[in-house]
């Protein structure tokens, strides 16, 4: 009985597990590069071990604090804003009575998701460029305000980056939540209607609790990536403007700029390894916490 039940399940999982093994696990052996002084003549295994030498530059730099702070704070902001905005949009869309409007709104949320970040950086530049941008050339003069040199004023950038990230990325979470809301048993709402519960009460007592597992899954997964950042967002969108580094430099952009001249494979791997280890520890910790609170929502 047991075998008959589980054997097909393992067969089902096999293709996916094998793919992950090839695509992800085999190259992981390459993580040793982070601890080696790569000499491609000797190959990956033959190169000399150098211990933690490749990691040094990440910690000895005077910028270490700034880049770590920026990476973490932006990611936290992104996680929170994307959850809140994503859920609000998903609820609004799911409650739309008019079918055509519903479709329109769905498309609107998804549209920016279709573009690559490089293109987004062009759009932002078209809006904020000091000489030719829409803001300085059209919007601000119309409002009777002086032009702003957007790319040299640090105070605007935390907002700009969060807005851009939300604008481009909210569609992903929103659609996941939308799918989950649609998956909620309609009879729950009907019962609430009969009880005379208003919209707000229904959202609070039915929709939000039912969304919780998806929110937890997405959040846990994002916590694992908290030391990583979208390179294009922090490099291309601010046009690599030096004056803005204090608010735009993240671990990924720092590493990129650091290795511009050296191009050292070992040092690049070391950065990735460091980011992964932190993410790993965080996800283990958070998962343990979630397990304590709600066994079912834990990732593993």
């Amino acid at each position: 009985m047991k075998v008959r039940k589980w054997a097909p399940m393992f067969i089902m999982m096999a293709p996916g597990l094998i793919y992950l093994f090839i695509n992800n696990y085999i190259p992981m052996a390459g993580l040793v590069i982070a601890f080696k002084k790569m000499d491609f003549r000797k190959g990956i295994w033959g190169s000399d071990w150098v211990g933690f030498d490749n990691f040094k530059y990440l910690f000895t730099t005077p910028d270490a604090f700034v880049i770590t702070r920026n990476t973490i704070l932006y990611n936290l902001a992104f996680i929170i804003v994307n959850i809140v905005v994503g859920i609000i949009f998903a609820i609004f869309i799911s409650e739309m009575v008019n079918k055509h409007m519903k479709q329109l709104y769905q498309s609107a949320v998804l549209l920016p998701f279709l573009m690559s970040m490089v293109i987004v950086s062009y759009i932002v530049y078209a809006i904020l460029s000091p000489e030719t941008g829409l803001m300085n050339k059209t919007v601000l003069p119309m409002a009777g305000k002086d032009p702003v040199s957007w790319y040299s004023e640090t105070k605007y950038w935390p907002y700009i980056l969060i807005i851009v990230n939300t604008w481009k990325g909210v569609g992903y979470g929103c659609l996941i939540y939308l799918a989950s809301i649609i998956g909620i048993d309609r009879s729950l709402y009907e019962a609430a209607d009969i009880d005379g519960a208003g919209k707000w009460v229904q959202i609070r007592t039915i929709t939000l609790p039912m969304l919780l597992p998806s929110v937890i899954t997405l959040t846990l997964l994002n916590v694992g990536r908290i030391f990583f950042s979208d390179f294009s967002l922090f490099y291309q969108v601010p046009q690599n403007s030096g004056i803005l580094y204090s608010v735009t430099n993240t671990i990924d952009t720092y590493v990129y700029r650091a290795l511009l001249q050296l191009g050292d494979t070992g040092m690049a791997s070391a950065a990735g390894f460091y980011q992964s280890v932190i993410g790993f520890l965080l996800i283990i910790g958070c998962n343990w916490l979630v397990r304590k609170l709600d066994r079912d929502s834990a990732l593993f």
Partner: protein, 299 residues
Amino acid sequence: MLNTRENRVFQTTAHIVMMLVVLISVLPFLLVFMSSITEENSLIVHGYSLFPQKFSLYAYEYIAQKGDKILRAYGITLFITVVGTLVNLLLTALLAYPLSRRDLPGKKFFSFYVIFTMLFNGGLVPTYLMYANTFHIKNTIFALLIPTLLLSAMNVLLMRTYFRTSIPEALIEAAEIDGAGQFNIFFSIIVPLGKPILVTLGLFAALGYWNDWTNGLYYLTGTKGEDLYSIQNFLNKLITDIQYLANAQFSGGGAQAAKMPSVSIRMAIAFVAMIPILVLFPFLQKYFEKGITLGAVKE
């Protein structure tokens, strides 16, 4: 739904907020399009505007010179998107369903096995060495299909969460008691009831294939490789070439760059990349809608 005052306020608020969202989403697209048909010199002199002073189709003519290449690239993109998405969905669902079963032996191990791939990766060099030198997928269509995009751990976990929370366990257990095999259950219960998430994640997978240019960058080189360029590879090449030449430190750079219309063409390129999606969008939407509502009908 009851037509109470609260509901009316809710609907109105929702409409106002979402109309704003529509505006914020669409205006930048309009700006992209308008810039792409603005004359290059006018863009540099007068700046970006939703109402340009001087029109020019030069950017599109420049792209159209490579018309046959573009058509070919669209074809390749379409092929990898369709094939890739189907395989991706199948692999994802087949992996997610067993993981969603609370009583799967080794459930914790397998979940961890999947999640771990999101946290650690070997980096570009080892991945490249394996695919290029061991599996020899360089300059073949597999280069666009297989690396990275075929299965996303994130999607597996999202789908698992959905299956677990939205498909009644009793339904599956009843089928099992009736003697249905697991594949039978998968195709007759999980797939139909999982439609909302399948369609959603299918859309993401499709977008992943449609928008990807990194695989082409790493694994397609030379004449043979460029014949396999997807539309994003093609457009990305135009963009990065312009960027590179504008910052070139050697003699020929400036002269090469000056031949290309750089500002308007970037916008035209962005627009060309989106046209097919914009055209296909209403159809996708219909499917999407259908999938989602179908999935909602239970029992």
